[in-house]
Assembly symmetry: D2
Homo-oligomer: 482 residues x 4
């Protein structure tokens, strides 16, 4: 099947329901109608629909090199700056649909898989079959418009630091068996966002190190259908406030579930195995595929859309509360404007500075993207804090939509209106501010942005060590002093 529409997206997930646990129960029936997943899946369906809409088709798709059929443009390997711009426009279209609230919109994993596949030459020498598996898996996903999730990180109980602390055998994910059909995996991974609402899952763990071994049971990479026997998804608490888009404008549409995904003797067929045993190759594949750089383009689109949405929200709140001449309010709004201009400029710089890499990809300049990856986790919580500081008690005093349907509506209309905004609109705006900055949905968004690409130490090291040109600046100072 080439590009799918929303209906097809929903149906495929419903038809292939994985083992999903939430609040002590297993999901049964149509997951697309389950209250914890319905809103998100509806949003994502509307995004897939764009692929077949006349207005958007040209922006959203390209011809599959293999089949000639239309494929999602985020699967396309960029070979020119023009390709980069096309990819950006496609990603912007989706980002403005979800206003940046989906951390795992499908174009994220489409891009990741494209990057890994383009770099499959890395695997060629030692194991050409794995290289071929990876390339074919990419083609399969592209030409069938597969929706993917992925996992990297294991729970603390599976990590080497824990072992060093407790001297207990860690519950690290590992290959427990290999047989003619494939490899057998036991272990768990954290925060598989959208794991429950994707067709397939891609697994590339940070391996439990055993000294650079070439035959480590902890080093592997593979993909599998989400409903493969032996895979189970344990959901966190749902942060969907309810179905009312008035009461819960964000969580009713954008609540991506995160899961603990558990592999219990899951058998992965050989043609879905990309790495098995070689520790170093895992690091190389992540690093040299420039996975972070390629996905950063998608993330920039998301972050810019989100920042614009926050700026619009804040300015609307300022307007409704009549605060637009207060110096301390202006100061805060300008902080958000500076953030937006910064992100837009860094995106532009990455695209303008792109260059062809050894895999034939037109690779955006890493420097501004690494800088943006260090910047956004700091500025996002500040923008949310600004909403709290401007919204104040208005963010708390939020009656329900239903209150407006009772005999007290007259009183609400009198006392809760804003400047040039009726009470119902004003309360709705407050509820939006509340969902962003007070609710569990908003809280999870803040955590997510803080740790999107790892903790600050990881992100800083990536920038510090991946920043070319530092020697030139030191040289300049030495010349100046000599």
């Amino acid at each position: 099947m080439p590009i799918k529409n929303g209906e097809q997206y929903l149906q495929r997930i419903d038809d292939n329901l994985p083992d999903i646990r939430i609040a002590g129960e297993q999901v049964e029936g149509k997951i697309s109608e389950h209250k914890a997943f319905k809103g998100l899946m509806g949003t994502q369906a509307s995004m897939y629909d764009m692929q077949q809409e006349d207005k958007w088709k040209a922006v959203m798709t390209y011809s599959s090199p293999l089949t000639g059929d239309p494929a999602g443009l985020s699967f396309m390997q960029p070979k020119t700056k023009r390709d980069l711009a096309s990819r950006r426009k496609m990603m912007q279209a989706w980002a403005y649909k979800h206003h940046g609230f989906l951390g795992r919109a499908p174009d994220y994993m489409n891009t990741a898989l494209m990057a890994f596949s383009a770099a499959c030459g890395l695997l060629e020498e030692k194991n050409p079959r794995y290289a071929s598996n990876l390339r074919k898996y990419y083609e399969y996903c592209r030409d069938n418009d597969i929706t993917l999730s992925h996992v990297f990180i294991q729970p603390k109980a599976g990590r080497v630091e824990t072992f060093l602390r407790t001297f207990e055998e860690p519950a690290a994910a590992r290959v427990v068996d290999k047989n003619k059909d494939g490899i057998v995996i036991r272990g768990a991974f954290l925060l598989d966002t959208q794991g429950a609402t994707s067709d397939e899952i891609l697994v590339l763990p940070a391996p439990f190190p055993s000294g650079g071994a070439e035959d480590s049971p902890f080093a592997f990479a593979f993909a599998a259908p989400s409903n493969l026997p032996g895979i189970r998804y344990v959901c966190r608490e749902s942060f969907v406030g309810g179905e009312s888009a008035y009461n819960y404008p964000l969580s009713s549409r954008f609540e991506e579930m995160d899961t603990l995904v558990i592999f219990d003797e899951a058998l992965i067929p050989w043609d879905r195995v990309f790495i098995c045993g070689d520790e170093n190759m895992l690091f190389k594949l992540v690093d040299e595929s420039r996975f972070h750089t390629h996905t950063s383009t998608q993330i920039m689109c998301k972050n810019i859309a989100k920042t614009e949405f926050l700026l619009g929200t804040i300015e609307t709140m300022v307007e409704a509360a009549g605060l637009d001449s207060h110096a301390h309010v202006i100061e805060k709004v300008t902080e958000v404007i500076v953030a937006l201009e910064t992100l837009k400029a860094l995106q532009l710089a990455a695209e303008k500075g792109a260059a062809r890499d050894r895999w034939g990809s037109m690779l955006p300049d890493r420097k501004p993207l690494l800088a943006a990856n260090a910047y956004f986790p700091k500025i996002y919580p500040r923008m949310i804090e600004i909403i709290q500081l401007i919204g104040a008690s208005g963010l708390i005093m939020i009656p329900d939509e239903k209150d407006f349907d009772t005999e007290i509506s007259g009183q609400l209309n009198t006392y809760l209106k804003g400047i040039d905004l009726n009470a119902k609109g004003n309360v709705q705006l407050s509820r939006l501010g509340w969902e962003l900055s007070v609710s569990a949905f908003g809280g999870r968004q803040t955590i997510y942005e803080r740790f999107f690409f790892g903790n600050s130490s990881t992100v800083n090291n990536r920038l510090y060590n991946g920043y070319p040109g530092r020697e030139a600046f030191k040289r300049r100072v030495k010349d100046f002093l000599s």
Copy 2:
């Protein structure tokens, strides 16, 4: 009735149910069994119970000067430093019961009423009846252990700034009629915390100014039973996550509802009127009663208990995650320790520096309290941020208590345990961190602390203008330069 116990507290509220609206419905039946109020009322009942427990009785009560019966000690006017210490110990006892999460534990309003009543001499000259009303009302509350809420602030729609923006008649609260029975009030007030779970309400609005008039309809102060006809409480969304203390350790116990309270032709009997018409007197009563100073003692107890609870939570999280040797973690924990030591020291300084005021009260030193009032709204959000930074994705990956009762419990036990902490304990700890720093309950607490005594501009001005001794420092510099 002298001091009440928890049972009596619950019954009195249940018996005198006000007009309360929540999510489109009116509360009926026993409010103490309503899911939005049950947990809080249970907590508060256990606090009132302490008044009659042998272990606590001496700490919690004193003899009413009027009846000789035991009365809640937070009603006691402090006349000596020893009284101040007794008041502090009583307030600490309650604060450690609710760990600082109740912004409107009953001792807050007991203290406020004591301060206003002690200063009733202010009203004496112009209207001795009002002075007498205030004094008698205080005695009534003290000797009947009345639970009070109060309001100051009107919705934006009622404020003068709104008028200046829109040139529409503001919906400001006002006296619409006076008759032989009392005064008739129309208007609304914001954020009546615990309005729905108190016996009575005290109203002291910041008046809509009409030029220092002595007969302004916007200047008044009074008290009324919460269920007086013409008073209605409109609740915000409830942030109680559920009844499970495992899943929702905080919101199941400490969720104080905030309400919009609406007066619709409510008739206030003359003997409950304290000010009517005199704008300046309102300012004087708030300022010269040293209401802020007296209640700050209670707030310091609350804030210290809360900070200790946060420190304990953070250290437990650090321990469970095995992070206690990371420099950046140590840095963050020490920030919290510094906050705790600072608050404790400021409390001590206020008590040591106390002096008798003109009302005969032993008044704590305002300087350290005003400083603390400016400090806590900044440090509280930072402590919550520290929880986010240390807890990271652990704050998100929160399965439900019920998941541990299913067949997947073995997997959870394997993969979600912490260092020296089993999975169920570790998830519970995560849920506590989540309630503090991610959930709507936690978000509301952050907003509440940010704006406890007004926005930062108000708090700064109060400190700047109320800080004696500044001239001495300027003089020192001038002497140094001359």
Copy 3:
């Protein structure tokens, strides 16, 4: 005279010595040999020399439209994006010569004058003679390579706020007489940076408002030779540490003197008068000429060069102290890298987004420049703080170059060396860090960057009010909610 070289620059200033006071004395003889000015003038001379060097000539100059002679390229009105790029390259060449330490390198005022002149159409309607004066003055400066300073701001004693406080007649600058030869000016202006080392001075005061008058004595704009009778420059303390480039690598070369410039019945000839009496025109000329936008291009070049110099210094310090694996050091270095990438990206975005304005100039996009103008005053002090935090006591323990010429040099060599850096080099590096972050030279640079374009309130308002597109974001939120 067309473009001048360094020798000619020095000689012209020496030959036309203004009335300059410093530390109780009047400057006499060659100012270019005076210890407070020598280093700076030498640096600036080397910059002018570049205009005639084969290597740089093409980058630094263009043909004067009037004479065909080479003129400084920063005088060129940009009409295409290519012109903008040429201007940027010219400005980068100078910026990398002074590493961003000159706030008033000549290209700053060359650009300002170009912007004002290009907008002289503003003056045309009401007073075509003023328009002509301005255009001719620009041509004169361009074709004679005049070095300019300028002033906007009056001392507090001359401002309206002071009047409102003291009810004394403010000492505001004003036209005290007009006669056939010109206008007579009395008053003073603050912080005429490089006033003492420029050929001419341009004066465009923020006028003392008298109600939008068209004949206000406080509203004027003019230019004059620096040594015009009746003009006096009072210097602040010199921050030149000494002549040794080892001891004072920065202040021995880059110390720009700031002066209080006093006009005492100075007669400005009519052909140098651009505005006289019309208050509104002053605001319009500054605003509608897009003076801030044009000069911001020059400032971005300066700020980027400076940030690169700081980054190089910090990384050299990290290397010499062996700190490059400390997480908290890496964190700080990455902050500086993020700042650099941000500035470079904003510069790129401004240039890419340029558009022709109504004066025929290719005007850079204001948005990223306004954002940069709000950003740099915050990040510069932080970068200096980072030098303090990394340099620590090494920034203090700075013996003199001469100590290395005495019998104690052996001991210094043993105890003060760094990692792979001998003691003399290590101390020199420390002295550089000291000049940046501890010395009066460095302190003045920090103040200068903090207030370059006004205080934060001014800068924020300029961004807030000058930011197009905000309505679109509000609209998006309203659509989302409806």
Copy 4:
């Protein structure tokens, strides 16, 4: 000699001139008349004079237990809370004399020596002679009013980290010989503040670790006269601006020189040796003597005096500039007020919480002092930043005192006056602000405060590891959850 006066202080230093190098020269003649030392020594002389002034004598001195003669009260071992209060009052008297700008006022080392001596029991078991040496040395210093400096830290070239980087033999300080007369030392120490202006030097290095050896050449502690042969003091650049108290109100009085002190085969007599060879004992002596706790009392006095001086300066600047109604100015002033109240409260808490330790000393509560030691290094730079933000360009536009004696004084008087402050006073105030926040003197003060008790990691660890009661808070949370 019992307590000395200023004259005696000066003469003793002059008579026993050490080997001091500054800017390539050796100090000769009277150091008390040398421009780099004169101001500081004059200030310190006036402090010693207080010991004999009728007004201060009782506050400043007590009876030596050995001789009955008056001794400096900062030498007194506190045995009661009253003693602690006496010590505080003595230290306040000196702190208000130098307004907190002396980091090494004599009471600092007097206190340190008292703490070490009181804990000399630590040395008793292994080497009673060393214990006796330490006790006698303390008595000698106390009864002769010796002025001491001290050193802990070696240059990087002498540290183990350097060795690990370079694999070169580090130039670590060591005992190179022992003979019948004493031990022979070679090595260097950093930042001996006031080394050049003290009678004696106390050396307690952080030893180069050799595995807890009991006979390490790197582990030693001793005292020596500053002018002992083989000791040399290499000064940093002097930050004295000049002798004029108008131009340089701070550096003309308070510039404490820091030196690199070099031991070149210096022979330390046995009776001045306190530790020789025992690595662990060095750690124990510093830790278990509670040296940090005792000196923190002195530092609190200094920091409070300094904060009051900054507050007075800032408020005077605000007044002179007419800024006292600007919200952002009020916000900044209140930050300083909060800092002051915090420091005062922490000091009070430490004193109130004091308890007798095993050496018989009344030891202040460590918790608030450790918190203050973590707090002040962060808030001091912020207060200096506030001076920059409020002072703005006024901190730069600083003509010289001499300018007011020339014919331009009339113009200065007109244009540089403040609100209710003539020009000369206004410029003087600006120069004070400049010395605090822009000059090298001020810059060095900021570095000094940032690193007073070590870098932030050291200070945080000291608090984290030295904070009792943390278990109780964890326990409370565990009880809450169970």
